[in-house]
Symmetry: C2
Subunit: 485 residues, 2 copies
C-alpha cells in the first residue's frame, strides 16, 4: 500500500514545499482544483472549494458585523476620476494601479472611470449628502465586493492578484473617541476569524507611518509569516481621522449646535487569507483545509472486495447517511479508480478526514479514520461515529493552529544591533524583532540598505528595551522587520 501511494504521489508531481515554496504554492493551488489561472493575466478563477471557504468567512464576519450594528450596502464599481483625485495621498497611493474605463460601446466617455481599487472616493460623496446632523451618526456601512488593483509586480495567486474579493467597512462617527473605540472590536474580530475558521495565527499591531494606508491617520494589521519567511499583511483597520471628511465635506451639526467634520474608519478582510491558509497548512501531498472552511470535511472511500461490492457500498452509504446531516461529506464511489488513487486525490484536495471502509469495517460495524494533517489512523464503532468525527475535526483544527503558531514563533528573531540584524536577515527566514527609535528616517535607511520593511509594531510591547538598531537612540518601540510580498 505504501509503495502504491508513493508512486501515485510522484505522478501528481508536486514539488517539495520546504525546498521550493515559490514553486510548490501555485502548483498545489491549481493542481488541487482550489483555484485556476484565468485568461486575464493576474486574475484568478475561484473554483468551488475556494469560493465555499470564502462564503463561510463572509457569513461568519457578516453575522458578527450585524450584531455589532454594522450594516451591509453596495456602492458602484466605478469611480469618476475627479472623485478619486480628491484626497491627495489616497490618489497618489492608488493611481499607479488603477484600471481605467475610457469607452462604453462605441463612445468615448467624457470622464475616465476607475474600477474601484477601494471605495472611499465613491462612497464618501454619498456620505456627505446623507449626513446632516448628529442624529445621522454613527453611520457604519460595509460592502462585500470585488476590487481591482493592476499590480505590475509578479502576481502570486490569491496573495497578489489583480482582482480580489473582500469586505470594505466604512464607518463615520461624531467623535474621535467613538471612532477609536471601533478598533478593538474589529481587530479582535479579525483575530478570532483567522484563528477559529482558518486556523491562522498572526502578529497584531500598528503599521508605521511609512507603511500605513494611503489617506489614513493610523493603520493596524495582522501580519502573517509565510513558509518562505516573507511576510504578508492580513486583515486591517484604518483610522482616517478627519482626512476624508475634509476632502469630501462630511460635516454634521452636533448637539452643541456647531458644525463639525466627522471621524472615519475603514477596515477589510480579503480572499488573500485563503492564500495564507493554503500556504501555511499545506504539505507535499497537497492542501490541508481547516475543517471549518473545508468544502468537503469528510470523504468516505469504500475499499471494494470482489464479491462483496454491495455489502461494502451499502455500508458506506449508511455511514454517509449518518454523517451528511452534520458535515459536508463526499462518498467516493467512482468506479475505475483504485482506493490509493482516491486517497491521493482527496489528500491533494485537502479533505481533513478520510474514512476507509473495507470488508473488515463492515464485519466489525466500525470505520477507519485517517487524518489529513498527521496521517494518523484510528478505528471507531458505528455507534460512536458522529461523536468521534466531532472530536477529530476539532483536534485537526487545533493541531493546524498550533503547528502554524509554532512555525511563527520559531521564525521571530530578536536582534539588538544592526550588524546582528543584517546577519539574521541573510541567514534566517521570518521576522526580525528589533528596538527602534520611531523615526521614519531610520526605517527608510534600513529598507534601502537591506530590503527589509517594517511589517508592524506589535500591540504587545512588554519587551520594549534597548537602543534603536540604526541610530542608537533610546528605543520607543519594538518593531518587526521582514521581507514582504
Amino acid at each position: 500500500m505504501k509503495k502504491q501511494n508513493n508512486e501515485e504521489k510522484k505522478s501528481l508531481g508536486l514539488t517539495h514545499k520546504k525546498e521550493e515554496f515559490e514553486k510548490w504554492y501555485p502548483e498545489v493551488l491549481t493542481k488541487s482544483g482550489f483555484v485556476d489561472y484565468s485568461f486575464v493575466s493576474g486574475m484568478l478563477v475561484f473554483r468551488p472549494a475556494a469560493y465555499a471557504a470564502w462564503q463561510i468567512i463572509v457569513n461568519a464576519v457578516d453575522s458578527e458585523f450585524k450584531k455589532n450594528g454594522i450594516e451591509d450596502a453596495y456602492f458602484p464599481l466605478f469611480i469618476p476620476e475627479r472623485f478619486l483625485e480628491k484626497e491627495k495621498e489616497h490618489f497618489v497611493g492608488f493611481e499607479p494601479e488603477v484600471a481605467w474605463v475610457t469607452h462604453a460601446g462605441k463612445s468615448k466617455l467624457e470622464e475616465r472611470l476607475a474600477v474601484r481599487p477601494t471605495s472611499e472616493t465613491i462612497m464618501y460623496p454619498s456620505y456627505s449628502k446623507w449626513i446632516r446632523s448628529w442624529r445621522d451618526l454613527p453611520l457604519r456601512y460595509n460592502q462585500w465586493n470585488n476590487a481591482v488593483r493592476w499590480e505590475f509586480k509578479h502576481p502570486t495567486p490569491l496573495l497578489r492578484t489583480r482582482e480580489f474579493l473582500w469586505c470594505e467597512g466604512h464607518s463615520v462617527f461624531a467623535s474621535k473617541e467613538e471612532a477609536d473605540n471601533e478598533r478593538k472590536f474589529i481587530m479582535d474580530l479579525w483575530e478570532r476569524i483567522l484563528r477559529d475558521y482558518l486556523a491562522l495565527p498572526g502578529i497584531v499591531g500598528k503599521k508605521t507611518d511609512n507603511e500605513k494606508f494611503a489617506g489614513a491617520v493610523a493603520s493596524y494589521s495582522i501580519e502573517h509569516i509565510m513558509p518562505d519567511g516573507y511576510v504578508v499583511q492580513g486583515p486591517d483597520f484604518h483610522n482616517d481621522g478627519e482626512n476624508f471628511a475634509k476632502a469630501f465635506d462630511i460635516k454634521f451639526l452636533d448637539k452643541d449646535g456647531k458644525e463639525k467634520y466627522a471621524w472615519q474608519n475603514t477596515y477589510a478582510i480579503s480572499t488573500r487569507e485563503l492564500g495564507v491558509m493554503v500556504a501555511t497548512h499545506g504539505d507535499d501531498k497537497g492542501l490541508i483545509l481547516p475543517p471549518k472552511v473545508a468544502y468537503i470535511q469528510v470523504v468516505i472511500v469504500p475499499i471494494i472486495a470482489k464479491g462483496n461490492e454491495e455489502k461494502i457500498l451499502g455500508y458506506a452509504r449508511k455511514v454517509a447517511e449518518i454523517l451528511k446531516e452534520r458535515y459536508r461529506i463526499k462518498l467516493d464511489d467512482r468506479e475505475g479508480y483504485t482506493p490509493g488513487y482516491k486517497y491521493n486525490e482527496w489528500e491533494l484536495r485537502g479533505v481533513p478526514l478520510r474514512i476507509e471502509i473495507g470488508l473488515k469495517e463492515v464485519e466489525k460495524e466500525q470505520v477507519m479514520f485517517v487524518r489529513r494533517d498527521t496521517g494518523a489512523r484510528a478505528e471507531a464503532s458505528l455507534g460512536d461515529l458522529v461523536e468521534k468525527v466531532d472530536v477529530i475535526l476539532d483536534d485537526i483544527h487545533k493541531n493546524l493552529y498550533e503547528r502554524a503558531k509554532k512555525f511563527m514563533q520559531e521564525h521571530m528573531h530578536n536582534v539588538e544591533t544592526y550588524d546582528e540584524f543584517k546577519r539574521v536577515l541573510k541567514t534566517k527566514k521570518g521576522i526580525i524583532h528589533a528596538p527602534w527609535c520611531g523615526n521614519s528616517e531610520c526605517e527608510e535607511k534600513i529598507k534601502e540598505e537591506t530590503g527589509a520593511k517594517t511589517s508592524n509594531i506589535p500591540f504587545d510591547q512588554s519587551d520594549l528595551h534597548g537602543k534603536c538598531i540604526y541610530c542608537g537612540k533610546e528605543a520607543k518601540y519594538m518593531v518587526n522587520f521582514a521581507k514582504s510580498y
Copy 2:
C-alpha cells in the same frame, strides 16, 4: 391624529402612484432610503434595506442550487476582447453596451478588456481546458457577482441600471436531454423564489426567436406587468445548445469513445426583481416590503404619555425582547419625534407590521398591531404575541401576492384581430394575448407598426385557437405582446 398624519404625509411629498407611476417609482425608492442615485450616471447605491433583501434572495437561491448539485465559483471581472468576439451573435448583442478598460495606471493595455456584461466568454475558455471526458460532466457552476451593461436608454433605478448584481448559472452536460432537463428545475425555482420571498407572480414562458438571448438556441423567462402596464423581463433560462461549445471548443470524450461537443445552459436572477417588488407592492405612503425580505419586519412605536415614560418604554422593551429572537425588529424609542412622524417614516420604509404601545396597552398587557398593506388594526394579548405576529406576517405576504396576481390578471387582454390589438394597445395597460402563426416577420411588423414587442409564449397554451392577428394564418401559439422597459 388623522390630520397630523395627513399633514406629515404631505411633507414627505410622495407623488400618487396610479397617476404618475414613472415619477412615483424613483421617488419612493430614494425617499424611503432603499436605494440612492450614485455619482456615476446610471449606477445605484444599494442601501441596507435593499442589500438585505438581495442577500435573503441570494441565500435562498444558493441553498436550492447546492441541494441540486450546482456549485458556486468566481471568474474574473474582465474579458479580453478576443474572447468576447468568439461567439458572433453574442458579441453583436453585447458589444454596443460594453464598458472597456483600456489603461492600467499610466500604461495602455495591449488588448482592451470588457467589464463583464455576462460571463460566458470568460468562463468557457476555462471550461474548454477542464472538460476532457464524460467523467468531467455535468459541470454546473454558478457565480454571484456584479455585471455592467452601459445602456444608453434612459436608466430606471434597479430595472435598467448600468451595474447590477445577479447570479450566473453556467452548466455543461454530455447530452441535449440532460441539458433540457435542467430547465424545469430552474424555472420552477425562479417561480417559487418570486412567489415565496418577493410575493411576485409572473408569466412563465418561452421567448420568441427574435427576443431570445444573444447566442442562445432558446430562452425562457418570467415576465412581470408593471403598474404602468409595461412589461419587465424577470429571471430567465437559456438553452445554448452547442453554440458556445463550438465557439470555445468545449469537447469531451464520451463513453462510446467518440469526441463530442458539450451542451450548455445559462440562467440568471438579478437585483432587477427588487425594482419589480417595490413597483408592484408600494403605495402612496411608500414601500411595502414582503415580510420575508423586509429588513425590519416589525417596528415597535411607544406612544409616550407624560409621567408614564418609563412604564411605557419598559413595556415596549419587553415586547421587543420577546420578538427579537424570531423577527428582524426595531424599537423606535427616538426622542423628539411624534408617534405620527414615526408611523409615516416606517410606512415610507415599508415595514410590514407596526406595533403601537400606549398606556392602554401597558395596562391591559396587550399590543396594537397595524398592518402596512391594509392599514387594518388589531389587538393581541402579550401571551399571544409571537403566534399572532406569525399569522399576520403570513397573511400580509399572501395578501400582497394575491393583490399582485389580481392586478396581473386584470391587465391581460385577449384579442382576436389586429384592429382589436391596436385599439387595446391604445386604450388599455398591460399584456395583449393574441394568436400568432409563429413567423418572425409578423412579429417584426407588429413591433414596427405599433411599438409592442412579444414578452413570451406562455407555457400554458391550453387556450390556443384562431388565426394569427397579422397574417391570418392558422395560429401556432398564443403569444403575449406588450410595451417593455
